[in-house]
Amino acid sequence: MTILACAALLIGIFLYVFYPQSKTEEQTQKTRLEFLRERKDAIYENLRDLNFEYRAGKYPEEDYLAQRAGMENEAAQILAEIEFLEAGTHAA
């Protein structure tokens, strides 16, 4: 009985591990484009936060404007690079 149970466990797991796969997930290196999109999302999130906190009265106007300008600038740079890379991939 014990041997039977052990054998069942062994064979079951063996089959699961080594059963030939028709397709496996590809391990792709993250592209610059993907990275930039993540960055863009992060900066967008920060900008939304900033806007919200400003409306909640946590920033005086001059702080808010300065910070928003900085972040928007950063976002614009990233968007420009995304656009450039996307144009490149489409062209290719």
Partner: protein, 168 residues
């Protein structure tokens, strides 16, 4: 703005000083009161500075080990010592002589054991100092921000898009 800031920081300093003063006054009071306290209070105070040595790892007066003979004996000794009128120092010394230094619930504040008390504060201060230096370094060498985008219609359109997408 600046004047306002210094003014407030002065208030802050003053209130900090006052806090320090109150703190030290409280400490002094504590010391005096510890000397003049009645026997029951001293029993409680000293009983919490000693450990039960039966191996239960509990503070003497909190040992609830059922049938623990060690703690009852220690408690009796403590009561006797207080009844004799021994000073706190003497009582603790007596216990150390009889049961070894592990009977004290905290390391004595002398000799090498002083390190035990100083190290946490010292590490905290050093860490504070390190952080302060780090912040200073950051302020002196800020990371370069991306250059301002040239003002042209395209950039304006991008900025408008960003602003629209990150609205509330």
């Amino acid at each position: 703005m600046r004047a306002c800031q210094t003014h407030v920081s002065r208030i802050f300093d003053r209130s900090l000083l006052r806090t320090w003063f109150q703190l030290s006054a409280a400490c002094l009071l504590l010391i005096f009161m510890a000397g003049a306290g009645d026997t029951a209070a001293r029993y409680k105070l000293l009983g919490h500075q000693l450990m039960c040595t039966c191996g239960c790892g509990q503070v003497l007066l909190e040992c609830n080990h059922v049938g623990c003979t060690v703690s009852t004996q220690e408690e009796a000794e403590l009561r006797n010592a207080l009844a004799r009128g021994d000073s706190d120092q003497l009582v603790l010394q007596g216990f150390v002589q009889k049961y070894g230094p592990t009977v004290l619930a905290a390391p004595p504040q002398s000799g090498f054991n002083l390190v035990a008390w100083i190290a946490p504060g010292l590490v905290f201060l050093l860490a504070m100092l390190g952080t302060a230096l780090l912040i200073r370094k950051w302020k002196l060498h800020p990371v370069a921000m991306p250059p301002e985008m040239a003002a042209d219609p395209h950039t304006d359109a991008v900025l408008a898009k960003i602003r629209k997408e990150t609205e509330l």
